[in-house]
Amino acid sequence: MKPHWLDRPGAARRVWLAFAAVLAGSVLAQLFVDVEPHYPAEGWFAMPALFGFVACAAMVVFAKLLGVFLKRRDDHYDDGGAQ
């Protein structure tokens, strides 16, 4: 059976390159639109991009830290305890 185009050699690299191009395009596009921010800082160059990245990184790290305390094996409630 013919392999899916995503399974062909080099596909992952091509997808990453395309993604990088789209990322760059979204930032550069800011130069070509009327910037109408709600708050001045929002309109700084690449600010939404930076904010999105940092906010997500913060949420992942926070979730990871919370997981240290709250994660349990998924059979935690299955061991015959009253439920």
Binding site: G52, M59, L70
Partner: protein
């Protein structure tokens, strides 16, 4: 009688009864026609009160309509149709009638003009949704449904108490915006918030919904939390507490979904997250915010239904729901993958999808009202939605590693339901004017400006970059995350067990102690009154005479001394 026949809920309730007894094609036909009939009835229902009833001296309006109820009526009917189409080949026969009963009850709330009718249909929804979970008939589903029912009966009780207090104080049972000073305000608000999945009881959503069948969860995702949003929109617009509650829900949903391994629990946490946006919008309370909330409820029902259909298709095909056991399904399930991606893009509010035209109204309202922290939190949350649902769900289910599974796409009816909802998600993103025309307040909001599109794309695409950059931290593990439901699943049973053991020990000690006393008393009686006891043995007449003489002498002596 004609008002009953014209009520949109009637079509679904009759459909539920027929589906319960019919078989084969007739059953399938009724399951599909009943929601379409309900949709037709919603569309022909004009504004105003269509039925009145006097109950125990109070005037009730069990059938009333306005733009808000019509908006929710339309989406509930569409959802019932899509869910029925998706669930036609569900082998558990009890699920479809339960689901139609549930959807009909939701329409009953949406078109209720008084609080008694709201309460009755509210409880009927709890019954219908519990039956949907019961129909799975597994021990896990049974236990989850009992926990679900417990939470909802508690919420219903709060609502009933609030309605009673409100009626006693105001003499009115009309369902309209409540006065914060009125008795019952907080009780009714709490009752509505329980159904919305608000803290501290958010855990029920991710606990119960994923235990339903591959098709049952699709129904469950749509009605209970969204009817709560409808009730908040009508009863509590502008309540500032709701901004805080909503933002908590938004981030709770993101963080718990990031930690979760079960694909349907990820989407269940995501429901709390999305309803959080809506609750925040109700709290902001301006026309823009309320329009945004109503629009977002509408679009959310479609894309969350679509996401859960794609997850349901995977569960149906593989029998698996854990991300660490899935992956690579894009090779053999292209339609499901594509539809899942459309749902993921819509929930993330990508331009040209339905989420973009609805959620941005809520952010716009926060900006317009000069609530910078709320606006900032909503922007961060928008990035987080892409992170936890927009990428995480499709990545771990359809891509990541190759699990070796090669299941085909699901049967035609399930594919059609997914394609219909995917088309609606994109259609509403492109052609949003019909949705805006249905909103409760007139609006001239324009979602597509150059800056809005570019800013949103930057935010989302770099959130995607963060996901892949931090992928090692997001590696799936076969774990769950403890939540408040630990209190009633573990702590309360443990406390009850400890109390029971202490009671048993106390009772045992008491039994032992009392037995000792009783044995001592019996021995003492035996000693004195037994066959050889001093008080029971036979005495000779001579000694009796002697003791009588001693006794009389004592009496004489006492008499003499006295």
């Amino acid at each position: 009688m004609s008002a009953v026949l014209a009520h949109p809920a009637f079509a679904l309730l009759v459909g539920a009864a027929l589906v319960a007894v019919l078989r084969g094609r007739a059953r399938a036909a009724v399951a599909l026609v009943a929601p379409l009939a309900a949709l037709a009835l919603v569309l022909r229902t004009g504004d105003g009160v269509h039925a009145t009833w006097t109950f125990a001296g109070a005037s009730l309006a069990p059938f009333a309509a306005d733009p808000l109820s019509r908006l929710f009526g339309i989406i509930f009917a569409i959802m019932a149709f899509g869910g029925a189409l998706f669930g036609l080949n569900q082998p558990r026969r009890a699920e479809m009638p339960a689901a139609l009963l549930y959807a009909g009850a939701a329409l009953g709330v949406a078109f209720a003009g008084d609080l008694v009718t709201v309460f009755l249909f509210w409880e009927l929804m709890a019954v219908g949704s519990t039956l949907v979970i019961w129909s799975v008939a597994t021990p896990e589903a049974w236990r989850a449904s009992l926990r679900y029912l417990m939470v909802h009966l508690a919420g219903g009780t709060l609502l009933l108490l609030g309605v009673a207090a409100h009626y006693a104080a105001t003499g009115s049972l009309a369902f309209s915006a409540f006065d914060p000073a009125s008795a019952g305000y907080w009780l009714i608000l709490a009752g509505f918030l329980v159904n919305a999945g608000a803290p501290p009881l958010s855990a029920w959503v991710a606990d119960a919904y994923p235990e339903a069948s591959f098709s049952g969860t699709v129904f469950l995702s749509a009605f209970t939390t969204k009817i709560a949003v409808y009730a908040l929109l009508r009863g509590f617009p502008g309540e500032p507490l709701l901004i805080g509650v909503g933002l908590f829900m938004v981030f709770y949903g993101i963080v718990y979904a990031l930690l979760e391994n079960d694909m349907r629990r990820i989407l269940a946490y995501s429901i709390v997250n999305q309803v959080g946006f809506m609750v925040t919008g109700v709290g902001i309370g301006t026309a823009m915010a309320l329009n945004g909330t109503a629009a977002h409820a509408f679009t959310h029902i479609l894309y969350k239904g679509l996401l859960l259909m794609s997850a349901g298709a995977v569960l149906h095909a593989t029998g698996r729901r854990k991300c660490n056991e899935l992956g690579g399904l894009f090779r053999s399930m292209p339609v499901t993958t594509l539809c899942g991606i459309v749902g993921a893009l819509a929930i993330s509010s990508f331009p040209l999808t339905s989420g973009f035209v609805s959620k941005s109204m809520i952010s716009q309202a926060a900006g317009d009202e000069h609530l910078p922290w709320v606006w900032l939190a909503l922007a961060a949350a928008s990035a987080g939605v892409f992170l936890h649902a927009g990428i995480k769900f499709p990545w771990f289910v359809f891509f990541q590693k190759d699990s070796g599974l090669r299941p085909p796409d699901p049967p035609l009816n399930m594919r059609l339901a997914m394609i219909l909802f995917a088309a609606l998600c994109i259609g509403l993103g492109v052609w949003y004017e019909p949705l805006y025309a249905l909103l409760p307040f007139p609006t001239d909001y324009v979602p597509y400006t150059g800056w809005h599109v570019v800013g949103q794309l930057q935010l989302l695409l770099f959130s995607g970059l963060a996901f892949f950059a931090l992928l090692p931290l997001l590696k799936r593990t076969p774990t769950i995350t403890l939540d408040v439901d630990w209190l009633w699943r573990r702590a309360l049973p443990a406390v009850a067990g400890a109390v029971e053991r202490a009671w048993r020990a106390l009772a045992g000690a008491w039994r032992e102690g009392s037995r000792g006393i009783a044995d001592g008393a019996a021995a003492s009686v035996h000693r004195t009154h037994g066959p050889d006891g001093i008080l029971a043995r036979t005495w000779s007449v001579r000694s009796m005479g002697l003791w009588m003489l001693v006794l009389l002498l004592c009496l004489l002596l006492i008499g003499f001394l006295a």
